[in-house]
Every structure is written in structure tokens, then in C-alpha cells.
């Protein structure tokens, strides 16, 4: 915070392009010791690119990169780590088969003089560190057995306690519950006192304003604004991000929302009766009508992920049954579910996209059998993909480009697009707007509403109350694998939803 010290990190006039796409144009960025620097901007604005440059992931760029006032050149992420720069990526990168302690100390295990790992010491220190973040997990348990939110905190813990001087957190709070966010912030403040520089990227403007000292806004690869967090407001930041006011969109849903009265006489598309799965789900029953969006809300680990996978035939329930349009179904594979007219978008887009394939192949993959039983018709595929790209305003509007070159939000739209060329009977969406900027979010909300109005039944599963509230006509709340509350045709608010869970 003291401006007399030289900046930890200083970037001058950074420009970076990928092929023909310019991701950053002449960006300056400064991080001082003991500063938490918030970074906001829509998807594709250039935040992630800048962070990957700092973390040594992207090496080819123009401009000056100064660390402690001296110019440096990183050839790899390893160089950056050696210089004390650590990054927590948006997507989880833990080793699920290793223990909690091993994950905390990954690549940095305490050893004795002979180079033998000191298990006891490692377990003890891991437990201590995790306690600081409020995690009371057995250090010797397998990480993959823990809920995703805890896994994310453990990954953050690994970086926070690695001794790095510069820490980059990319959307660290999106999978965390409110108390977990509190504990994370407490840990960040402690690091700030010790002089660590922290870059905090988030779409949650409230989080940014709460934790940051300094905020920088990006738009279209340019730095638009830099200001002290205390001197700005949510509305001002959003305006800088988007280019004009959008308060209506960013309505924070603290007000009450009245759910529509359940439509009468519409056919029931899906009925789940008494679904149970090991320890995850207990006798879950619900139904969805045509032209209705059912929101399923619950905290991380409430059984949502498992429920969604049962609906798409990826997991088989131990008990209970699914009836699709009154007909009993036991899907043996996801292919069965797809053929029965079910579409599915998982919470992690990496799990459903082919990043090294062109956009059109990603869009057409689920409808190839409707185009032709045996042969491919690439011209048909391209035409279908072009239509979807136009309708969903996917940028760049080029169906030949490899999907990996698109920004995260646009990739997410492609994940939706692949199901829209042949509209399904039932659409299952997991965390449809996670990690998205305001514009992309409203696009997705618009698409889902449009599908609902066409008579498609939609199930939206989310751990973010806003997502459920902005999309659902009816909400059920899942808690420890059981349906504990249903909201229909009544007034609902974020508070009441959180309370029920």
C-alpha cells in the first residue's frame, strides 16, 4: 500500500495477438507490494491473457515486463514460479487421487536430509494451513472424495501458502459458498499485510469491491479504467466494462421475485420418482412440464451434479425411475438419453467441447445422425453451424476456426448451440452462466427463455442463487441429496432461497 516502495510488478505497453486476433493492445499494469488488485472485464476482454503473460504461460508478446523494477523474460510458467509468481486458474487443477496433504504440498513436499517425504510433518502442516481457510478436512483423505468447493479452496491454499510474492486468483469465488468466501478473504487480507501482491479476477463485482484496494477495468483488449476501489461503485465499474449503463441487468435479486403460477394442463415431459444414488441422492422426486424452467438450487455437494448425470444417462440410479413423456426410461448410455430427446450441458465446458476441432464440428456432433445415417455432409454441417453462430452471436463468427481460439463465454455458447439445431424435449443445464460476464449471461438467459417459449422443458441446476432466480419458473431446493423445499407461484428472494438450503 505504501507507494514509496518500487512496484512488485510493472507491465508497460503490452500487446499480444493470437494469429490474427489481437487480445491485448498497449496495456500498462502495475501491482504494488501489499496490494490486492481487482480485475474486471467481460469475457474476452483480455484479463486472462494478461494474467497468463504474468504467469509465464504466454511468452510471445511485445512490451516491457518489470519485476522489482528490473526487466525479466520468462520462457515458461516454471520461470515465473521461480520468480515467486503463482496463479490459481479458473478451472480446477488438483490431483484427485492424491491425499489432501499431498495436494497442498504438490511439488513442494517437505523432505528430510535423505530426500524422504516427511508424511507426518506434511499432514500436520497441511491441516494447520487448511484450518486458516476454515477447512477441517482429514489431510490423509483422498482429495477427489471431497466436495468441489472444498477442492477449490485446497487448490487456493496450495498457492496462498506457497510463499509466492505475487498471487493471481482467476474467479476464485465462483464455486464457494458465502462462508467459504469470507474465510478466503480473511486469508487474503493476512497475506496483504505480509506484503504479498494479489491480483483478483472476478465477475462478482461485490467481491471485487469488498476485497480490492485498486481496480482495473478491461474492455476489448484495452485498459479502460484504473481506480481505487473506495472511489468507485458497482454501477460505475459495470458501465466501464460494458460501455454504458446496465443496472437493470445487474439487478442483484435482493428484491422479491414472484414466480408465475404453475401452468395448468401442459404435458409433463419428465417425471423423476424416488431417485436414489449411494450417498448422494435420497428419494428425489420432481416433474417438469413442457414450456417450463425448473430451477434446482443447492450448495456445492448437495447432489446436483449426480442428479444431472442421472437425467442424461451417465449415471444409473440405485433406485427410483425416470419417466419421459409418461414412458419409463432406463438409459444405458448418454446416447440413449440423447436419442430420447434429452440435451445436457455440464458445469465445466471443457467436458463437452472439442477445443482442437473447428467450431462447426463442435456444433454438429450431436445431430450428425439426423443429417445422414452413414455419411457426413460437411456443407450441411457448416450451414447449420453458421445459423447457430449468427443466432447466438458467437464471436468471431467463423465456423472454421478452432474452438480453442474463442473466449470462454463464446465457448459456452457453442456448448449450448450444439443442442439447438434439433431442439430437444428436455434441456438439462448445469451452472449455465458460471464465470460469464453480464452480456453473455443475459444472452444465455434470453436463449433459455426462447427455448422454454417454444415448449421445451428446461432443468437448470446451479449453486448460484442468482442463476436460479433469473431463469426458473419454479424452484426446488436440494439439501444433502434430498428435496427440502419447493417454490411455485409464490414470492421468492435470494434470502429465502439461501435460508431453505
Amino acid at each position: 500500500m505504501s507507494d514509496s516502495r518500487p512496484p512488485l510488478l510493472e507491465l508497460q505497453d503490452i500487446t499480444k495477438s493470437f494469429g490474427g486476433v489481437t487480445a491485448l493492445r498497449g496495456v500498462d499494469f502495475t501491482l504494488r507490494p501489499g496490494e490486492i488488485h481487482g480485475l474486471v472485464g467481460e469475457n474476452g476482454a483480455g484479463k486472462s491473457t494478461l494474467m497468463k503473460i504474468i504467469a509465464g504461460v504466454h511468452t510471445g508478446f511485445s512490451g516491457r515486463f518489470l519485476l522489482d523494477g528490473r526487466e525479466v523474460h520468462f520462457n515458461s510458467a516454471r520461470d515465473a514460479r521461480a520468480a515467486g509468481i503463482a496463479m490459481v486458474h479458473q478451472e480446477l487443477s488438483v490431483a484427485p487421487d492424491l491425499t489432501v496433504a499431498e495436494n497442498v504440498f504438490l511439488g513442494n513436499q517437505p523432505t528430510n536430509a535423505l530426500g524422504i517425504v516427511q508424511w507426518r510433518r506434511m499432514a500436520r502442516e497441511a491441516a494447520e494451513q487448511l484450518k486458516k481457510l476454515g477447512i477441517d478436512a482429514d489431510p490423509m483423505s483422498r482429495l477427489g472424495d471431497l466436495p468441489i468447493g472444498v477442492q477449490q479452496l485446497i487448490e487456493i491454499a496450495r498457492v496462498l501458502f506457497s510463499g509466492a510474492r505475487i498471487i493471481i486468483l482467476d474467479e476464485p469465488t465462483s464455486a464457494l459458498s458465502p462462508p467459504e468466501v469470507e474465510r478466503l478473504f480473511a486469508a487474503l487480507r493476512k497475506l496483504r499485510e505480509q506484503g504479498t501482491g494479489i491480483i483478483f479476477i472476478s465477475h462478482f463485482i461485490e467481491d471485487i469491491l469488498l476485497i480490492s484496494d485498486e481496480v482495473t477495468v478491461f474492455r476489448n483488449g484495452r485498459k479502460i479504467m484504473e481506480t481505487r476501489a473506495a472511489d468507485t461503485s458497482k454501477a460505475a465499474l459495470i458501465e466501464a466494462m460494458i460501455g454504458k449503463g446496465r443496472d437493470a441487468l445487474e439487478g442483484s435479486y435482493t428484491h422479491d421475485i414472484t414466480l408465475p403460477a404453475p401452468p395448468a394442463g401442459k404435458p409433463v415431459v419428465l417425471e423423476a420418482a424416488g431417485l436414489s444414488l449411494a450417498r448422494s441422492l435420497k428419494r428425489v422426486s420432481f416433474s417438469v412440464q413442457a414450456g417450463e424452467v425448473l430451477g434446482i438450487y443447492g450448495f456445492m455437494g448437495c447432489g446436483q451434479l449426480e442428479l444431472a448425470r442421472i437425467l442424461f444417462g451417465k449415471l444409473a440410479p440405485d433406485a427410483g425411475e425416470l419417466r419421459l413423456a409418461g414412458e419409463r426410461n432406463r438409459f444405458k448410455s448418454t446416447a440413449d438419453a440423447r436419442r430420447a430427446g434429452i440435451a445436457f450441458v455440464p458445469e465445466s465446458r471443457r467436458d463437452m467441447l472439442f477445443l482442437q476441432e473447428p467450431v462447426y464440428k463442435n456444433v454438429s456432433i450431436s445431430i450428425l445422425d439426423r443429417i445422414n445415417a452413414v455419411l457426413l455432409k460437411p456443407s450441411r454441417e457448416r450451414a447449420l453451424a453458421k445459423r447457430q453462430v449468427e443466432q447466438l452471436q458467437i464471436r468471431p463468427a467463423d465456423v472454421e476456426i478452432d474452438l480453442g481460439l474463442l473466449s470462454g463465454g463464446n465457448q459456452q455458447k457453442v456448448a449450448l448451440a450444439k443442442w439447438l439445431s434439433h431442439p430437444p424435449r428436455l434441456l438439462v443445464l448445469c451452472e449455465p452462466t458460471r464465470g460469464m460476464d453480464v452480456g453473455a449471461k443475459s444472452d444465455v438467459i434470453g436463449i433459455v427463455r426462447q427455448l422454454r417459449d417454444q415448449g421445451i422443458a428446461v432443468v437448470v441446476l446451479s449453486t448460484e442463487p442468482e442463476t436460479v432466480l433469473s431463469l426458473a419458473d419454479r424452484v426446488i431446493v436440494l439439501k444433502r441429496g434430498q428435496v427440502v423445499r419447493e417454490f411455485a407461484g409464490e414470492t421468492i428472494s435470494k434470502d429465502r432461497l439461501l435460508e431453505a438450503a
Partner: protein
């Protein structure tokens, strides 16, 4: 930024990652094997006057034919990011089976079961398809990794071979197989024609059919394929059967080509086939490459094996040289994957 009423971005019309450097990066796996082939051909052509002759081209084509037939199926398997170690053993047992069901000369001491030629071929094909189906079952239903499953199958197929011939050698196969394996038409060996047709068929299936696209997608991202509603297990099972049947055909023609059916006859074909596919540039991580790559790989191996016979070189050193070339190809294979991932980053 993609929202309807925002200002259209000036940079929203990028070209598709242009530039020669990017092209080289993304096409590394196709270019490198081709350059290797040209280099080797040029080298041997200069080093030996007997190498670059029409006769020798015919030799090379014939020499790579059996490997080529087996490699067609293996290409499908490797594109799916799986492996089949039982190809040579299945080739062997299928070749032995077709001889087992054919009337042998009286001096052959095998308690065999003579059948009409057509029936013998059908039974042999059924046998290799069945073994492939067992591989498929182990991989997809039980969940045994293909590396281990096909290692077991390698032993099983070798065991069946041993039971059938009991250390003896059979010579006769049905006339159709004899023709295709050792006959020729207008100076072109039938086995070369069969190999070319099978490679072409494999290419057409991979490039122009829905199944082929699924193979690439399953290899590219298996999880995504599943979440896209593809029947991943069916696709994986199918490629294991395709691989076994290609091996079986290679084995039958190979027996006719060599003029005998006996134990361990195809042992070298396991490594050769894998090498052909990988040297050609098909990714060991799945999803990239194809029959075109396999053809280049076949020729690299064929030219190398044949060329080393034409130059004056220690025959024991040949083995080492082949190993080094294979290592170089593996390095390029893995490196190409990384370059491509970077280009798409």
C-alpha cells in the same frame, strides 16, 4: 462483448490463425514424416545404385503390404487413444486357422479339419472378429485398459495358435487366399492391391462417414464425446473389432505370402504396425492423424528396411538404427501435439 446492442468490435473478424509459422506448427505431424520419407529415399538413392529401381519399388510395396493391412485397423484404435498389442498374435492365429481348415498334404502332421475354402475363410474371419469382440468386451464392459487387455489377448491368441499347430507347420491355404497372398495380376502382386484397397477403405470410412468423425471426436476428448450423447463404448468396441479383423486379413494373406503357417510367424509385425502408425504422425493421444499418415509411416519403415539391405551395413546395426528412427518419430509425435496445443491456446 457478444451482446446484441454493444458496438461491434473491430477485431471480431480475425483470419483463421494465419501465417506460415502457425501452419508449420499445426501441420508439424504431417510435414515431419513426409520430410523423413523424402530424406531417406534421397539418401538411399544416392548411397545405392540398386535402390531407386522400378523393381525395388515393387519390392518395397510388397514388403509393406501385410503391415499395411494390419495398420489400417490399428490406425482406428490409436486415433481413439487406445492401443492394440494383440494385432500380430491375432494375425498369426487367423492365418493358422485358415490353414487348419484346409486340406494339408499328407506329410503335414496336424490333426486338422478340412473344409471347403469359402467355409475356412469365413471361420477364420469369425475367429478374429470374436477375439476382437473379447478385446472390446474387456475394454468397454469390464473396463480393463486396452494396453493390459490386449496384452492378455496376445497370449490367448498365441495359445490358440499353439494348440492348433502343436509345433508343426502347415502349408496349404484356400486357393482364393493363395492367389491374393502370393499371386499377381498384370505384374502387380494381389497383396499390394488388397493393401491399397484396405487403406483406401479405411481412409474413406474415417473421412467421409459419421463413424469416422466419431472416432476422431472420441479420441479428441472422450468426456466431451460422452456428454455430446455419443455411444463411446460402442465406438471403442467397434475399433477393437475392426483392428482384429484387419489383423486377421493381414494374417491370412501373410500366410499365403510366406507359404507357411506356423507359430510366432508374425511377431515382428506388432512393432512394425505400431511404428508405421506412429511414425506417420497419428497422435498417440488420439484425435489427430489418419490413414494418410499411416501410409507415409509405412513407406518410411519400408524404405528404411529395404534401403538398409541395399547399403553395406552391419546387419546387427540395422536393428539399432530402426530403434533410433522410431524414437525420433515418437519425439516428433509428442512434440507436434504440444506445438498444436500451443497454437490453439
Amino acid at each position: 462483448m457478444a451482446h446484441g446492442d454493444t458496438v461491434p468490435m473491430p477485431e471480431a473478424q480475425p483470419r483463421r490463425a494465419g501465417g506460415l509459422a502457425t501452419l508449420l506448427r499445426t501441420q508439424m505431424r504431417n510435414i515431419a514424416p513426409f520430410l523423413t520419407l523424402i530424406f531417406l529415399t534421397a539418401f538411399f538413392a544416392i548411397a545405392s545404385p540398386s535402390f531407386a529401381t522400378l523393381d525395388n519399388v515393387g519390392n518395397i510395396l510388397t514388403q509393406v503390404s501385410v503391415t499395411g493391412i494390419i495398420a489400417v485397423g490399428l490406425t482406428f484404435v490409436i486415433l481413439c487413444a487406445e492401443i492394440d498389442l494383440s494385432i500380430a498374435a491375432i494375425a498369426n492365429v487367423t492365418g493358422i486357422a485358415v490353414a487348419f481348415f484346409t486340406l494339408q498334404d499328407s506329410y503335414v502332421n496336424i490333426a486338422n479339419l478340412p473344409l471347403p475354402g469359402f467355409a475356412a475363410i469365413m471361420l477364420a474371419l469369425a475367429l478374429c472378429a470374436l477375439l476382437g469382440a473379447v478385446n472390446a468386451f474387456g475394454l468397454t464392459v469390464i473396463g480393463i485398459p486396452s494396453f493390459i487387455m490386449t496384452l492378455a489377448m496376445m497370449q490367448i491368441a498365441a495359445g490358440i495358435s499353439a494348440m492348433l499347430v502343436r509345433g508343426q507347420i502347415a502349408y496349404k491355404v484356400p486357393p482364393l487366399i493363395t492367389t491374393l497372398g502370393s499371386g499377381s495380376i498384370a505384374g502387380v502382386p494381389w497383396i499390394v492391391i488388397v493393401a491399397a484397397l484396405m487403406l483406401l477403405l479405411g481412409h474413406l470410412v474415417l473421412t467421409y462417414t459419421r463413424f469416422g468423425r466419431y472416432v476422431y471426436m472420441v479420441g479428441g476428448n472422450r468426456e466431451a464425446a460422452e456428454y455430446s450423447g455419443l455411444n463411446v463404448k460402442l465406438i471403442l468396441g467397434s475399433v477393437m473389432v475392426i483392428s482384429a479383423v484387419c489383423s486377421g486379413i493381414g494374417g491370412m494373406l501373410g500366410v499365403a505370402h510366406f507359404g507357411s503357417a506356423q507359430q510366432n510367424e508374425f511377431d515382428t509385425y506388432l512393432l512394425d504396425s505400431i511404428a508405421a502408425v506412429v511414425v506417420g504422425g497419428t497422435s498417440l493421444f488420439g484425435g489427430r492423424g489418419g490413414i494418410g499418415n499411416t501410409i507415409v509411416g509405412l513407406f518410411v519403415l519400408g524404405v528404411l528396411n529395404n534401403g538398409l539391405d541395399h547399403v553395406n551395413i552391419d546387419s546387427f546395426l540395422k536393428i539399432l538404427i530402426r530403434g533410433l528412427i522410431l524414437l525420433a518419430a515418437l519425439v516428433i509425435n509428442v512434440y507436434a501435439q504440444r506445438l498444436r496445443a500451443k497454437a490453439a491456446d
